[in-house]
């Protein structure tokens, strides 16, 4: 199922729903957030890495959005606003539940050295159709989960939640330059992981061969 385009700024139906909820039609709220429930859950999951916690935080974030709906201003994208609430909620929970309050310093420092992409001269594209298959989605999810947190979070917000670089920086409290550096590395590392996955036969049952792209 393909949901709505993430760039749907100014969707009239959505604006109408927001206005109605803001005027007090509470029962319309689920209609408003339904297109984003999966993004909200994914954002919480990427930060908390635990399904039960992520679900609870997703629900809390929705309730918080509901409670603050009058603060939402039309110049922002509703989906971005919702994701921001979710990420803040998830980060707060993680901080609360952590016994060591302060981060390890080196965990947040960007690696100095260059990242050398591995040499897979003949990149075999994985077509989007492959995502219909659960095992493929799982493999991609597993590859992402092996990334360090600082890379995973930036990648998730930018490439999965479709926030822009500035929004990502602001939400994580890091500089735009740091977002760009981490994004680069996250993307290159994932590429390497997926290319290695080809070699390990993750995608071997896909109905296409090298140099033969039926899509």
């Amino acid at each position: 199922m393909v949901l709505q385009d993430p760039g749907q700024m100014g969707n009239p139906r959505e604006q109408d729903l927001i206005a109605r909820v803001q005027r007090g039609q509470r029962d319309q709220f689920y209609e408003l957030v339904r297109p984003y429930e999966r993004r909200v859950y994914a954002a919480a999951l990427a930060i908390l890495r635990n399904e039960a916690d992520a679900e609870e935080v997703a629900q809390e974030a929705m309730l918080k959005a509901f409670a603050n709906i009058r603060q939402f201003r039309a110049e922002a994208r509703f989906s971005t606003w919702l994701i921001q609430i979710t990420v803040n909620e998830a980060l707060m929970r993680r901080r609360r539940e952590r016994t060591v309050v302060m981060e390890r310093i080196d965990d947040q420092r960007d690696d100095e050295g260059e990242y050398q992409p591995r040499d897979f001269a003949d990149w075999r594209e994985i077509p989007s159709e492959a995502l219909e298959r659960k095992e493929i989605r799982q493999k991609l999810g597993e590859a992402l989960s092996t990334l360090d947190r600082k890379y995973r979070e930036v990648f998730m917000l930018r490439d999965m939640e479709h926030l822009n670089i500035q929004e990502t920086a602001q939400l994580l409290g890091i500089s735009v330059a740091a977002v760009k550096t981490r994004l680069l590395r996250a993307r290159l590392m994932l590429r390497d992981l997926l290319a290695a996955g080809w070699e390990q036969g993750w995608f071997s049952r896909l109905p296409f061969e090298k140099g033969n792209k039926p899509w």
Binding site: R38, E55, E132, M160, K180
Partner: protein
């Protein structure tokens, strides 16, 4: 301008974001034409972005939607969230501050600088500004404020969250955002947190 492979890798993500200048883009394009390895890196990175950016990657557990819907409808019907609406927060906080003031006046008439006047609604504080709160207090500060008592357990959040969660702004480090009462100096230089906590207790008691 000629770019080598390392330079290309360093910029490949920006290239895909459309975030490189025209000259660099041209150089990179030229490089891609002749370098199979960099082309592979480019295609792979582009593929990664397309795959992970696909909505199908966002899966929820079985029953997630119905559980969410139930939770929302329970709370929506009870109307709980509406009582915390921030739109109401400022006037309500103002009323509470006034009530607290009256209460203080009646109990400590001989104490001229009313503590409650120092607690201010933080409505002029930029909502996205990063602030910190210490454990067991109800005051939020700018990081590095010297009036934070217990610096060992600080949590960072935005001003909006702090206000929403019932924290009041520190009148020292956030002074420029506050209409501090009559420009009067607080009686003690250490008392901010306690003052605010007392304030909070008064609010709780009086409301």
């Amino acid at each position: 301008m000629v770019v080598n492979c390392e330079q290309v890798w360093r910029e490949i993500s920006n290239y895909l974001e459309g975030d490189v200048d025209a000259a660099l883009r041209t150089s990179m394009n030229t490089h891609f034409e002749s370098c199979a390895r960099c082309r592979s890196v480019l295609e792979g990175t582009r593929n990664v972005i397309a795959l992970y950016g696909d909505e199908r990657m966002l899966e929820v557990p079985v029953g997630f939607s119905s559980r969410l819907q139930r939770r929302l409808s329970e709370n929506v019907r009870e109307g709980k969230p509406w009582s915390t609406w921030s739109a109401w927060l400022v006037p309500v906080a103002a009323l509470i501050v006034i009530a607290g003031t009256v209460q203080l006046v009646s109990s400590f008439t001989f104490q001229p600088p009313l503590k409650s006047e120092h607690a201010q609604p933080g409505h002029d504080i930029p909502p996205d500004m990063q602030v910190v709160v210490a454990a067991n207090t109800k005051v939020f500060h700018l990081a590095g404020c010297t009036f934070i008592h217990d610096k060992s357990q600080l949590r960072t959040m935005t001003a909006r969250e702090a206000i929403r969660d019932g924290y009041v702004p520190c009148v020292r480090c956030l002074r420029k955002y506050l209409e501090v009462a009559l420009g009067r100096q607080p009686a003690s230089t250490l008392g901010t947190d306690e003052e605010a906590e007392e304030e909070q207790e008064l609010r709780n008691a009086g409301h």
